[in-house]
């Protein structure tokens, strides 16, 4: 018995498109709220103090880390089982999820950088400062490229951490997921405090230079991202799903 077969799109591309659309929708909601919040906070600060000499936009950094992180958990919880039930492999899910989450991290960094630069331009036009108070490498004088690179590494690691948490909860259950949080989220927290190294001088070992800080943050972030992606893939590729939904 034979029949003609229609070709199907690449399973990786198919699922990446579905995940991408979902994350894009959520990103739209997030940035709409974030921009409105920044504008309102700026207006309130201006009314109270007469001028706004700090970057308000940069306060959205923590939200821009942890919101997509939580979506990474949901990606595994909501899509993995359906992906396999639809006749696709774990391997293609891993590829699609990693592709989309890395792209999302870079995308969030690009939008964040654009918002921060726009805010800086507005502040400059009004004669205000744009001091950045967050613990990060970029400050009010940093170029767009440096800010984008630092944020992209941080956001990508956050997203991969979310995927990893989702996979660990799926594999080891609630207790296993909770107890392993230091391992799954710890690397992200570590990365967030790497910029603190700029306050440390170890004569003969480490001297504070802006380029050195950036190189350290990017190197550590890249290594962590690679390790998290590898562990995520290893867990998902061996994942046994229970028979009942």
């Amino acid at each position: 018995m034979t029949t003609t077969v229609t070709t199907r799109p690449s399973p990786t591309a198919h699922t990446a498109r579905r995940l991408g659309e979902a994350l894009l929708t959520m990103a739209g909601v997030f940035w709409a709220i974030a921009v409105v919040a920044v504008v309102i906070a700026t207006l309130v600060a201006w009314r109270v103090a007469g001028s706004v000499d700090v970057s308000i936009a940069v306060y959205a950094r923590q939200a821009a880390i942890w919101f997509p992180f939580s979506l990474g958990i949901l990606v595994v919880a909501a899509y993995l089982r359906v992906h396999i039930a639809s006749g696709m492999t774990r391997r293609t899910f891993v590829r699609a999820a990693l592709l989309v989450e890395v792209a999302a991290g870079v995308g969030y960094a690009a939008v964040f950088t654009a918002v921060a630069l726009l805010e800086r331009a507005i502040h400059d036009a009004l004669g205000w400062e744009s001091v950045m108070t967050e613990i990060q490498l970029a400050d009010e004088s940093t170029s767009a490229g440096v800010m984008l690179l630092e944020l992209a590494v941080t956001f990508v690691v956050a997203n991969l951490s979310g995927l990893l948490v989702g996979a660990v909860f799926h594999r080891y259950g609630a207790w296993g997921g909770m107890l392993s949080l230091p391992l799954t989220v710890g690397p992200l927290v570590l990365l967030l405090y790497i910029p603190g190294a700029r306050f440390v001088d170890l004569p003969g070992i480490w001297t504070t230079t802006p380029a050195g800080h950036l190189a350290l943050a990017v190197t550590v972030g890249t290594v962590l991202a690679g390790a998290m992606a590898a562990v995520f893939a290893a867990i998902v590729l061996r994942l046994q799903l229970p028979p009942a939904p």
Binding site: T3, V5, T6, P243
Partner: protein, 308 residues
């Protein structure tokens, strides 16, 4: 465009599946012929869903080999698109509309039929704009059926997909399944507790009991092996002596005994002379008797060996 077989056979070789201390499948060896509708029957917890999970690569067996179309399905890019396992209402994107769900499934299934999906959606009166999470139990099951049948997978496993469906919808499902199977032959494994209803669809049957294969046989053959013997208690007892007695019921001086095993030459005549009545046994009654806990304690392996 390429050509492919439309029906895939299944082979389980000494498959064991454990969940911690629980053994869901215990050294199961069986074959499901390509291009048949096979009933997968068993009491709750007998291992039916676990078998479906293994065939659809949801899990890997603890021991043994699972082969679909000659290959292990686990992470097999060729095989998994041709295996569709729908358990109860199926695995769906709960927070997306049925339309979005169908778009996702159709993109993943090379043989998906939008035409059949549309017909089934109309048949079950499903609104494409609704989300699965907002559907009633029966409508969720109906959507699982739409996905399972419209996927036209070479191996389709439908596990209790009738849950919550009213009787007219169940019969509409059976008719739709048969009609599409006739036009697009494939291997269908149907699991249900409503044996009376699905009996007419089945060509072969696998009965699981406590993780072991109790029976694997063509339905006609199995049905022919079940005989009810009714008459005076003493005569019935004499007639069934030495046979595989499945169950006995008594009403006053009359006894009805269900036996399994083909009648030998002369049995019908001997029964008539003894004033006994011989009759067929419905598949559901056979199933109930075969899986009676009082009867099957540890007997599964013996029966499996005798059947195939």
């Amino acid at each position: 465009m390429t050509a492919a077989t439309t029906a895939w056979g299944v082979e389980l070789q000494h498959v064991t599946q454990r969940y911690g201390d629980v053994t869901a499948l215990d050294d199961v060896t069986l074959t499901i012929r390509a291009g048949t509708i096979t009933g997968l029957l068993g009491r709750n917890g007998s291992g039916k869903s676990t078998m479906g999970s293994l065939l659809a690569a949801f899990r890997r067996p603890t021991a043994g080999r699972v082969l679909v179309d000659g290959e292990e399905p686990w992470e097999n890019e060729r095989v998994v698109p041709g295996v569709c396992f729908v358990r109860e209402s199926g695995d769906v994107l709960d927070d997306y509309s049925l339309k979005d769900n169908l778009a996702y499934f159709s993109g993943a299934r090379p043989w998906f039929s939008h035409e059949l999906a549309g017909e089934l959606l109309d048949l079950f009166e499903l609104d494409l704009q609704r989300k699965p999470s907002k559907l009633s139990r029966g409508k969720k099951s109906a959507f699982g059926i739409v996905v399972g049948l419209a996927s036209r997978a070479q191996l389709t496993i439908l596990d209790e997909v009738h849950l919550g469906l009213d009787a007219p919808s169940r019969y509409a499902f059976y008719d739709a399944l048969l009609a599409d199977y006739a036009e697009h032959p494939r291997t269908i494994v149907l699991s249900s507790h409503l044996i009376d209803e699905i009996e007419r669809l089945l060509e072969e049957v696998v009965v699981l009991d406590r993780g072991r294969v109790l029976v694997t046989q063509d339905v006609e053959g199995l049905r022919a092996e079940g005989v009810s013997v009714t008459g005076p208690a003493a005569a019935v007892a004499d007639f069934v002596a030495g046979r595989d007695v499945l169950a006995t019921q008594r009403l006053g001086g009359t006894t009805q005994t269900t036996v399994r095993g083909a009648l030998l030459e002369g049995d019908v005549r001997r029964a008539r002379e003894a004033g006994l009545e011989l009759g067929p046994v419905p598949l559901q009654d056979l199933f109930v008797h075969l899986t009676d806990p009082g009867r099957t304690g540890g007997a599964g392996a013996d029966v499996q060996g005798a059947d195939r």
